[in-house]
Amino acid sequence: MSTAMQYFSRLSAEDRFALDDMYQAYTATLDERRFEDWPSFFTDDALYRIVPRENHELNLPIALMHCEGRLMMNDRVVALREAVMARPRAMRRFVTPARIVGGDGSAGNPLQLRANLLVVETLHDSLSQLVLSGVYHDTVLRSNEGMGWRLSERLCIYDSLLLPDSLVEPV
């Protein structure tokens, strides 16, 4: 089999379904504005970043959102709820099935995954618009609580440096 078409035989069907569940639940949680649940998809010290492809390729550290650990994610959520003034909007995230690019999910060898992402936003009195097109670079560990997976790193790399208006919510 060519390297372009890898099959990760060590991952069981159950593990794969659990991964898919995690990805779908993540987007639903945010689409439905249950922001307080969002950090629970991550390990305690997980890194979460949204970066333009330009910064990523130039190895520049600045991110649109940069959270080191779930506490910083909680702060982002509280600020989003309590501090930020933004027009009401519906945001919807469309994510492709995750592609495994490395690791086997065992301790010390976390899964490396990629999934494409589109984010569409609808404001009152406006047409729906595409906010960004990007790719997740994810690192995933088995959950300590038994079933399922947790993100220990989620890097969302978006293609167009120029964004329409603002990116108000996490993606």
Binding site: I50, V51, P52, E54, N55, L58, L60, P61, I62, A63, L64, M65, H66, C67, E68, G69, L71, M72, N74, D75, R76, V78, A79, E82, A83, V84, M85, A86, R87, L161, L162, L163, P164, D165, S166, L167, V168
Partner: protein, 426 residues
């Protein structure tokens, strides 16, 4: 009151050439009123491009540290226009229009890179690092046929050059060869400029860009308006990063076109201030991870925030340890691009860089503070588009245009329009 405004015979409407006399009239009150049509009128917008952005002004172009080596270039904008900024062999910096002398093609499509020369892909017209035309394929034709007219000269042709000024590692550009020297242009604002650009080598930390659906001037005014910061920005208020009860000042240059908001971070809001801000102040607000605001003093003096607006396209952001150039690129009367270049210094420790990255959460298209602004700017434009005949009131802090030592003022907006009215011939 030092409002000595006198309306002139007045300029432009929408359809005619930018040089045609304007039909619009500035309100009798002068700069304490801003007519909504300055944000919506296509003719006013076109005139701004001509007399402000292509006129005798210095626009921010790039940072020198983005183009350290000979042949390094970046694309930038002066007004709407795409411009190439390139480091020459001798270390000097050139800037010229990204538009081919032949058919106008925007020949450079890479946002940055390194080049020995530039070649337009359409007909392979070739330019050196000064933007001078060097070669034309088939100039003499082929086998005696075709080619350029015998009297066509290459010498002296090229992409339109711009004036270049450098100060403290920052590159400024002007289309107007008659523009005054940059140091004069900056005037007394130089002391705030040099506070950040003190000669240390800068290090770019990253880029962000957003298209905001409002007139470009509203962004400029936002940074000349400390009044809003004490009522809109819950995050700034709650953490004392910028609040009306803090020691602060608003300063302008002699013309009014540049300004600086200066403030010192304080503790809890006093009682009187808290009452005025009670709608939005969240004194109980606590971060779970305090590293987000692990601020260290890094500049001389007491100020912890200095936000500069340099006419006509630059905001220099220094809020705590987050530093950025915010470049305005107008995109019609109802939109502009805000291009953020975050930076630190080449001698920053890794901890300082990390601090700047964390504090950048406050800024940009997802900024815990700046989202308030980009959203309210779009809402401003909605209202102004619908009601272009209204006049905005700019009377907070009086009617004059003198420096102040408090924040409850719109004085810098008045000073801005004092200059704007003059430059635009309104």
């Amino acid at each position: 009151m030092t409002n000595d405004f006198k309306p002139n015979s007045c300029p432009d409407s929408s359809t005619v050439a930018v040089d045609a006399p304007m039909l619009r009239r500035w309100p009798q009150e002068g700069w304490t009123r801003v007519p909504a049509w300055v944000y919506t009128d296509e003719g006013v917008y076109r005139r701004e491009q001509k007399v402000i952005f292509e006129g005798p002004s210095w626009s921010y172009g790039a940072l020198e540290s983005e183009i350290p080596k000979a042949g390094d270039f970046v694309l930038t904008n002066v007004g709407e226009k795409s411009v190439i900024v390139v480091r020459d062999e001798d270390g000097s910096i050139n800037a010229f229009a990204n538009s081919c002398a032949h058919r106008g093609v925007a020949f450079c499509r890479q946002p940055r890179g390194n080049a020995q020369d530039f070649t337009c892909p359409y007909h392979q017209w070739n330019y050196d690092l000064k933007g001078s035309l060097k070669g034309i394929p088939f100039r003499r034709g082929y086998k005696g046929q075709g080619g350029m007219s015998p009297d066509f000269k290459i010498d002296g042709r090229g992409a339109q050059p711009l004036q270049v000024a450098r100060r403290g590692g920052v590159i400024f550009l002007s289309f107007d060869p008659g523009v005054e020297p940059f140091d004069n242009y900056l005037g007394v604002m130089g002391r705030y400029f040099d506070r950040v650009f003190d000669g240390r080598e800068l290090k770019v930390l990253g880029y962000m860009r957003q298209r905001i659906n409002s007139n470009w001037k509203l962004m400029f005014e936002n940074l000349k308006d400390p009044y809003h910061a004490s009522v809109l920005h819950v995050f700034l208020m709650s953490f004392g990063l910028f609040r009306m009860d803090q020691e602060s000042a608003v300063e302008m240059d002699a013309t009014g076109r540049h300004s600086a908001l200066i403030s010192r971070r304080g503790g809890k809001a006093d009682e009187a201030a808290a009452k005025e801000m009670s709608n939005n102040l969240r004194s109980e607000f606590q971060l779970q991870d305090s590293r987000l605001l692990d601020v260290v003093r890094e500049f001389p003096g007491e100020a912890t925030v200095v936000m500069q607006t340099l006419w006509p396209n630059l905001i220099v952001q220094q809020q705590s340890n987050t530093l950025a150039m915010r470049q305005l690129v107008p995109r019609g009367p109802g939109a502009f691009d805000l291009n953020w270049t975050f930076f630190g210094y080449a001698d920053d420790t890794p901890e300082m860089t990390q601090r700047r990255v964390r504090q950048a959460n406050l800024m940009g298209p997802s900024g815990l503070v700046s989202v308030d602004d980009s959203e309210v700017l779009a809402m401003s434009q909605n209202g102004l588009d619908d009601y272009p005949d209204i006049e905005c009131i700019v009377e907070m802090g009086g009617k004059d245009t003198a420096d102040t030592t408090h924040m409850i003022t719109e004085v810098a907006i008045r000073a801005f329009y004092k200059h704007y009215i003059k430059v635009m011939g309104l």
